[in-house]
Symmetry: C2
Subunit: 407 residues, 2 copies
């Protein structure tokens, strides 16, 4: 497996485009297209929020039906959530317009939206945008990058990456893009991510690999504890690499699972690091827990704690807040048998042991907390389960961004 250039157009047979449709933002692109002339097998996961945005309902139906997919149309600025029947009708009109312009079936078009909840989409501008997207679509890496930029909302950097691996004797590419920095929380967040691959694979195996990858990547990040109405993760596989289609769980499937996991983990980390207002990526690593479920609960509780997040922002080695967050997570443990470490990846500092503060240097701790990526390691001494979760610090800018997001 090795990293390569590009994002959604890195894999063979995929095209992309962006357009400035003026949906809510002025003077920037706000629509994106991902397209494959070859029919794609598709798998995905969606928000667990009871309140589901219209595009989530639309996409879920398409994925369930199992028809081949050709295109994804995404807009930023307006989320098309809490918009009732009118919002659902706009999804159908978006798909119908794309179907007409791209000459593909209406139910081969997925749609995605991110932005303000509760406003209706200006469907005329969406349709004009689709004309522009169709005219501009290209298989260049730049076109993929343009799409990754168009789906951003409060993101400060575009998120795209790609990997290649040898699978079944041919070179397979898996590339993707993602957006998300606010409303990000375990169990799908807003959080839109689209991954393309030129692998040929059966739908049920693709779904299996997707579910596994999401579980250890997007579901282990949190920015603010708010699970959005729009979270969507979709993988499109068009078979253009020419591999013998994967129809069972052999070595080829394993190789794909690994590369997909890598792409998802890296996209997820990029999202956590770009959390609204964030200045640090926090990696919470729980080791030697009694069960995997508890390891996950404990790891997430640390990166979700507002007090821990604020302490990292202030480079304040206030480790008591971490222990406190482990304590209210819901997992049982004996605080006297927990070891806590701070790490910057190379240096590992013991902070807490035997139920009380370890004899560490406050200066060394502060140094670690100044690093861009701060690792918090909680050794539970109970078993062999482990989990990793990613979050970011809580800053003044997070409040500024969210106190008046709509204006």
């Amino acid at each position: 497996m090795k990293k390569t250039e590009g994002g959604v157009t890195a894999a063979k047979g995929f095209e992309a485009a962006s357009a400035a449709a003026g949906i809510k933002y002025k003077e920037r692109t706000d629509m994106a297209l991902v397209y494959s002339a070859l029919p794609c097998t598709v798998a995905g996961t969606f928000t667990t929020n009871v309140v589901k945005a219209a595009p989530v309902i639309w996409d879920r139906d398409i994925v369930r039906k199992g028809n081949p997919v050709h295109a994804v149309i995404v807009n930023s600025g307006i989320a098309n959530a809490c918009t009732g029947q009118e919002g659902l009708d706009y999804c159908r009109q978006t798909a119908a317009k794309a179907a007409e312009v791209l000459q593909i079936p209406e139910d081969s078009v997925l749609v995605g939206s991110t932005g303000v909840i509760g406003m209706q989409l200006p469907i005329d501008r969406i349709c004009s945008g689709i004309d522009m997207l169709a005219a501009a679509k290209s298989s260049s890496l730049e076109a993929g990058t343009a799409a990754a930029k168009a789906i951003m909302t409060t993101d400060t950097v575009k998120k795209e990456l790609a990997y290649t691996a040898q699978i079944g004797g041919v070179t397979v590419t898996v590339g993707g893009m993602a957006k998300g920095s606010g409303m990000i929380h375990p169990n799908m967040c807003t959080m839109l991510s689209y991954v393309t691959t030129d692998l040929a694979i059966a739908k049920d195996l693709l779904q299996k690999a997707v579910s596994k990858a999401v579980n250890d990547s997007f579901n282990m990040i949190s920015v603010d504890g708010d699970t959005s109405t729009n979270d969507t993760f979709l993988v499109l596989a068009n078979g253009a690499s020419g591999n013998a289609p994967i129809t069972e769980e052999g070595a080829d499937y394993q190789a794909f699972e690994e590369i997909l996991m890598q792409v998802c983990k890296e996209l997820a980390m990029n999202m956590a690091a770009d959390g609204e207002g964030a200045t640090h990526l926090i990696e919470s690593h729980v080791i030697n827990a009694d069960t995997e479920a508890n390891a996950r609960i404990l790891a997430k509780s640390v990166i979700t704690s507002s007090l821990t997040k604020a302490a990292v922002y202030g480079h304040d080695a206030n480790w008591g807040r971490i222990l406190c967050a482990l304590g209210y997570s819901g997992a049982e443990f004996d605080p006297d048998h927990v070891d806590l470490y701070f790490s910057d990846g190379s240096k590992k500092l013991l902070i807490f042991t035997n139920g009380a503060a370890a004899d560490y240097s406050e200066e060394e701790a502060t140094e670690i907390l100044k690093k861009e990526k701060v690792q918090i390691i909680s050794d539970m001494h109970m078993g062999e389960a482990e989990a990793v979760a990613w979050g970011c610090d809580l800053t003044h800018d997070y409040v500024s961004i969210n106190a008046d997001y709509r204006s």
Copy 2:
């Protein structure tokens, strides 16, 4: 039932004091005493955090034993949490010193601490502080106020209040003090609160009333989602009012339950309104839910949402975030049948109905969000259960306060 002056010394037979012991703060009081020469029946609830501070372990044992209680010694500045055996030893030494100076049994002394986690208490200063407290103790209302001020940490205002009611033919007073603004979350928070009453009541009935009152007051507030290691709520009843001791659940018990509930709700609201950096009290009222459990889950989810809290700070009527928070709460409902209102107590504005935005005036909504107390009403149209939860907005000051709390 009517409101009266004072706090922990409002009820007959209670004395209080404060002292500047120099534990961590300079130039302010940081120790408090609540004392009754008459033996008190005591009941309480404590943090659900797996990591329990030493004073929580100490107090829980005393309450379980059921011996009469005479005194509570509280310090601010250092939480005596995550301090191992040394921390527990300091609790015993604190109680032993108070027992010696006040000439009461060691196991009649409750202790409480709030402040930084992980630091050891300077036990010499604690002991000197106890000498000062014993010398200064007084039954004046001012002494109660002084105690309420001494237990503050990042609080901006002291919290104390008292009510009187006629119970069993005599005037009974219930008064209390509380501290808490950070690390406040449903299911006990740091959150220290001490209530005194001159009622005579059996221990099991006192505990029953306490559990019920806490459930609908302190357990329904949240500032930042972090449940502390130190949360403690204790009620001391010394019988000085001269009522016939309450030993069964008749009219007298009901009257006490009501007055205790009122005292707890008001103390809880005062804490939420004084959340770290807060500029608004948010009251989330869920009505017509299917079950009380779901009503509570839904009400709390709204006041816990960082995005909703930040929107209230910005006076931004971004109601989509409220619907989103209801949606990820874990309770099932149909978003198309929810009505959402903003209210300032007198004016009630319909914001969301039939699955989409109502035709409301943005100016009117913004006006309501500028009020000190903002009420959010979610009508689920599913049944008859309701619940109220209290929180506060998320502000720049919250981040400032918590980015460098220890220095």
